[in-house]
Amino acid sequence: MAKGVVTITVERCKGCGFCVEFCPTRVLALSSAFNSKGYHPPHVVAAEKCSGCDLCGMYCPDFAIYGARINGGARGDAHAE
């Protein structure tokens, strides 16, 4: 059971690959699909490994991805929109 979940806003992505490279549990990979601007957004290849650490969210320069803990996430829940 995954501890976290990652959410991707495909249309904001510019395909820099920071999230793919620096995900500590290697959850992501760049997909071969395009978004409407012609970039390759990341997609989830190992959803069960996600720890919800939100490091992808910290690295993403385009605010296009974030991770959150599923149960009792210390950090995310406190500041839910």
Binding site: G15, D62, A68, I70
Partner: protein, 292 residues
């Protein structure tokens, strides 16, 4: 669309800080400025500050666009004049936290004089300098932070002028908090920004950021991701390192860490002290005129 598991999750932490209607932003793919904005947003969350009492002031340049993207009171000033504007803001409203978010060209070249005098006065500004080593918005000309031998639009055979060592300059000018990180060190940068936001006095953080379109392309250093790997490989954390020894070179080691953390009397404090001494009874409201 791409949510992997269908459970309610809290939104992106940075989202409440953004003017969403302006996103996607103009920064290039692989540029690190957005990453520093993530760290800044999280630092603001950590300090639990009242966001109505935080103002962001930017100059001109790629990093200058930050003021237009953050959903805080913000002002996009003319080139190099972020610090004078912020100084005025801080003097008239000492209760708000003024953050100057700008680039290396804006702060150190066009606004260089303002920067050193703000540091000398130790006025309580938080300066975040995103250093991409070049004048990026205007097409990649040699700037005051361009390392020697780097190829730029105005130095096709390599820059020959020595570059500023930013932490050394601001420390010598009198800054009371000086740190340097790269966009690779997101957690450390977040911690450092949190510390800076609760520090009294002139605080300065230099953040090294990739510029894939202009700096790295001309220097054959790959894209944004390659720059991040370069930072990972070359950076070395040395807290408290003497700032005279940490100049940047094109391919050399990048010393990161917190270099200076000291207390000096703040400009507003000194001004109030003198006014209190000389005006005596006539000194009202700590020197801040009441308005509204």
């Amino acid at each position: 669309m791409a949510t992997t598991i269908d459970v309610p999750v809290p939104g992106n932490l940075v989202e409440p800080f953004l003017r969403s209607e302006r996103i996607p932003h103009i920064w290039c793919p692989g540029c690190g400025i957005g990453t520093t904005v993530n760290c800044f947003a999280r630092a603001l969350l950590n300090t639990k500050k009242d966001l109505r009492k935080v103002a962001v002031v930017s100059g001109i340049g790629c990093t200058g666009r930050v003021a237009g993207y953050v959903k805080l009171d913000s002002f996009h000033t003319t080139h190099g004049r972020a610090i004078p504007f912020a100084t005025g803001l801080k003097l008239s409203r000492p209760d708000i936290d003024v953050v100057v978010y700008s680039g290396d060209g804006d702060l150190f070249a066009i606004g260089g004089n303002h920067l050193i005098h703000a540091a000398r006065r130790n006025i309580n500004l938080k300066v975040i300098c995103v250093n991409n080593l070049i004048y990026a918005m205007t097409g990649g000309q040699t700037g005051p932070a361009t390392p020697e031998d780097a190829i730029t639009a105005t130095a096709p055979f390599g820059a020959y002028e020595p570059a500023f060592n930013m932490p050394q300059l601001v420390e010598a000018a009198g800054a009371s908090y000086v740190a340097r990180w790269t966009t690779y060190h997101v957690k450390q940068l977040e911690r450092s920004m949190t510390e800076m936001l609760s520090h009294d006095g002139f605080s300065f953080i230099e953040v090294l950021s990739p510029c894939p379109t202009l700096y790295q392309r001309r220097n054959k250093m790959g894209d944004g991701l390659d720059a991040m790997k370069f930072y990972k490989e070359k950076s070395k954390v040395r807290h408290g390192a003497p700032t005279s020894e940490i100049g940047l070179t094109r391919d050399g080691e990048i010393v990161v860490g917190k270099f200076v953390d000291r207390q000096r009397p703040d400009y507003v404090e000194l001004m109030r002290r003198q006014l209190r001494e000389h005006l005596g009874e006539r000194f009202i409201n700590d020197g801040v005129p009441t308005c509204c």
